[in-house]
């Protein structure tokens, strides 16, 4: 299958501070593409450039055949890029179902009748279906993260961006998340997944990119990338200690 997303020599940052330096990678359609890297290496900045919160100084981003480098965020949302927030931001006063319905109606231009089915499907995929009438403010952390994903799915994306959805969860919950991502992949979504929890990356991704100082350090199959010397140097030494702390 072809590439759904290509970053081509991207330089980007905030104001004069350049975070991404000559970043290039591509994501194949239908795959789970993992992104790791130490704090401050530019993972979230890469997402911001991808959804349009910042515009790159140099380079091009191609999504599904469109050059989206300078497009506005809502236009990218309508093209099919769905994001989740690292810290879940549900619409707390609305029910779980309404949260997703907003995305289906406004993000995917459904009316409320056709949007209903889209929302229910997204809730089934994220295992929130039984809790659909609960106020989103009453959800647990795991369910809030599920809701973030369900809401992104409501916009009918082709590419789904997951920003640390496993962070802060218990080991059993992390397994749930891995299962859910595998379901999403089976349902045909392409996924980019930023995560610090190493286990998720090895188990669930097809390709893994390790970033360092705003540049791609290594891209490849998850296991070899994890085992490589370079990655260990910039990243794993620190991370393994963290894991033991937990």
């Amino acid at each position: 299958m072809g590439n759904i997303l290509t970053f081509d020599h991207i330089d980007a940052g905030y104001g004069r501070v350049q975070i991404l330096h000559d970043l290039s990678f591509s994501v194949e359609e239908g795959e789970v593409f993992g992104v790791i890297g130490p704090n401050g290496c530019g993972k979230t900045t890469m997402f911001n450039a991808l959804i349009g919160l910042i515009v790159p100084n140099h380079g091009t981003i191609t999504f599904n055949g469109h050059n989206i480098t300078k497009m506005k965020p809502d236009a990218r949302c309508h093209l099919g890029i769905g994001r989740t927030y690292q810290v879940p931001r549900p619409f707390e006063g609305m029910s779980v179902y309404e949260n997703v319905l907003v995305a289906a109606v406004h993000g995917a231009n459904h009316n409320e009748k056709t949007g209903r089915q889209v929302a229910l499907d997204a809730l089934k995929l994220t295992e929130l279906y039984d809790k659909r009438e609960i106020r989103a403010g009453e959800l647990t952390l795991l369910d809030r993260k599920r809701l973030e994903i369900a809401r992104a799915l409501g916009t009918e994306p082709k590419l789904l961006l997951l920003d640390e959805v496993a962070a802060g969860l218990t080991e059993a919950e992390v397994q749930d998340v891995i299962k859910m991502v595998k379901n999403l992949k089976a349902a045909g979504y392409s996924i980019i997944w930023i995560e610090h929890v190493i286990q998720t990356m090895v188990e669930a991704t097809d390709h893994l990119m390790c970033m360092s100082e705003g540049h791609e350090l290594l891209i490849g199959e998850p296991r070899p990338v994890m085992d490589s010397k370079e990655v260990e140097e910039v990243y794993l030494g620190v991370e393994e200690e963290d894991e033991e702390d937990e």
Binding site: I51, P73, D74, C77, H78, R83, Y85, R89, P90, F91, E92, G93, M94, S95, Y97, E98, N99, L101, V102, A103, V105, H106, G107, A108, N109, N111, E112, R116, A119, L120, D130, K131, R132, E133, I134, R135, E138, L139, T140, D143, R151, A152, G154, T155
Partner: protein, 343 residues
């Protein structure tokens, strides 16, 4: 699973549908009949028409601040503009008060449209302060504008002032229209987005809600109805003054009504409007103290009932009145009792 406790919780009861509609229609018709048949004394009608106008204003301010997050402190500008329009058309041009009211509303909406160009670049505190400054600037302008007799103010031609009973009917009609507009608006696609914006504006834009369009629509509707209500207040008083027509007291009243009743609920401002008028009439016996007492009540409500009276009751008793809630099951026509049994 650890979430069972939540999953088993009863869904929210929705007080809506046919029974509620019948109750509302009965109340409205009763209010009309009691007004037309002179069952109410003139004094009672004076109170009630104030309540209707304040409910209209509160409901509109709630739409802006409660739903779109635009906390305006300058809505009195529309009260003043419409009041002056009525005065100018009836006294200076010797024309009908309806024309004055209509022109006042149109000027209000056009003015709001112009203001939105500047104001919508600001958020939060900056927006609030800017709206207030603009209202003050307009007040100063009227204070020195010869055509409207400067600080001395104007009187509305007595021949044009409607009887209390007529004004009561107009105010009731305006209030009902305002409530119906808000009710319908919240049930449209835009209304779904507005409810999302109420909870988190940034997150709502990232799922495709057009924030600018929603804000503009609310601001224009709000300006229109506040202008109409303001024009009717001027008719009730019989005169306009820059210091009182453009007074921030109008907005303070709207804020009070919304806070007491419950921000972001439709029933909140209805209760808030009733409470405000009763309180302020009662407190009129204690001049000088009234604002202090109203302020203290508002503070107590903010501390102990941050969701307002209606908002707190809804959360505690797990119901929603006039709810814009969307249910995942297609709606069936059911009685109030059966609504609780969905699961």
């Amino acid at each position: 699973m650890e979430n069972n406790g939540i999953a088993l919780r009863k869904p929210v009861k929705i007080l809506d549908g046919i029974p509620m509609l019948i109750i509302c229609i009965v109340i409205c018709i009763a209010l009309y009949i009691l007004g037309i048949t002179k069952t109410f004394s003139n004094n009672t009608m004076r109170y009630l028409l104030k309540i209707f106008l304040y409910i209209t204003m509160g409901e509109m301010w709630n739409l802006m601040s409660g739903f779109t997050g635009m906390t305006s402190l300058g809505q009195q500008v529309f009260v003043g503009i419409a009041g002056y329009s009525v005065a100018v058309f009836t006294s200076t041009f010797k024309m009908s008060m309806w024309l004055g009211l209509l022109v006042g509303a149109v000027i209000g909406v056009v003015f709001a449209l112009l203001l939105s160009l500047i104001l919508f670049r600001m958020r939060g505190m900056y927006f609030a302060v800017a709206t207030w400054l603009i209202a003050e600037a307009v007040r100063l302008w009227f204070n020195s504008w010869r055509f409207v007799k400067q600080g001395a103010g104007m009187t509305i031609a007595t021949s044009q002032i409607p009887k209390v009973r007529e004004l009561y009917i107009y105010a009731l009609t305006l209030c009902i229209i305002a409530l119906v507009v808000v009710y319908i608006l919240l049930r449209t696609k835009t209304g779904l987005g507005l409810t999302a914006m109420r909870d988190d504006a940034d997150a709502s834009s990232s799922v495709g809600v057009n924030i600018f369009k929603s804000k503009l629509l609310c601001y224009l509707i709000c300006s229109l109805f506040i202008a109409l209500a303001g024009g009717m207040f001027a008719l009730q008083k019989g005169s306009v003054l820059p210091s009182s027509s453009f007074s921030i007291d109008w907005t303070v009243a709207m804020v009070f009504i919304v806070i007491i009743g419950g921000v972001g609920t439709m029933a909140g401002p209805i209760l808030g409007g009733i409470v405000y008028v009763i309180l302020s009439e009662f407190l009129a016996h204690f001049p000088g103290w009234s604002n202090i007492i109203l302020g203290a009540i508002a503070i107590l409500v903010i501390i102990f009932l941050p969701d307002g009276i209606i908002g707190t009751l809804q959360k505690k008793l797990n119901f929603e009145i006039f709810s814009q809630k969307r249910l995942s099951e297609p709606k069936k026509v059911k009685g109030l009792k059966e609504k609780a049994n969905m699961a």
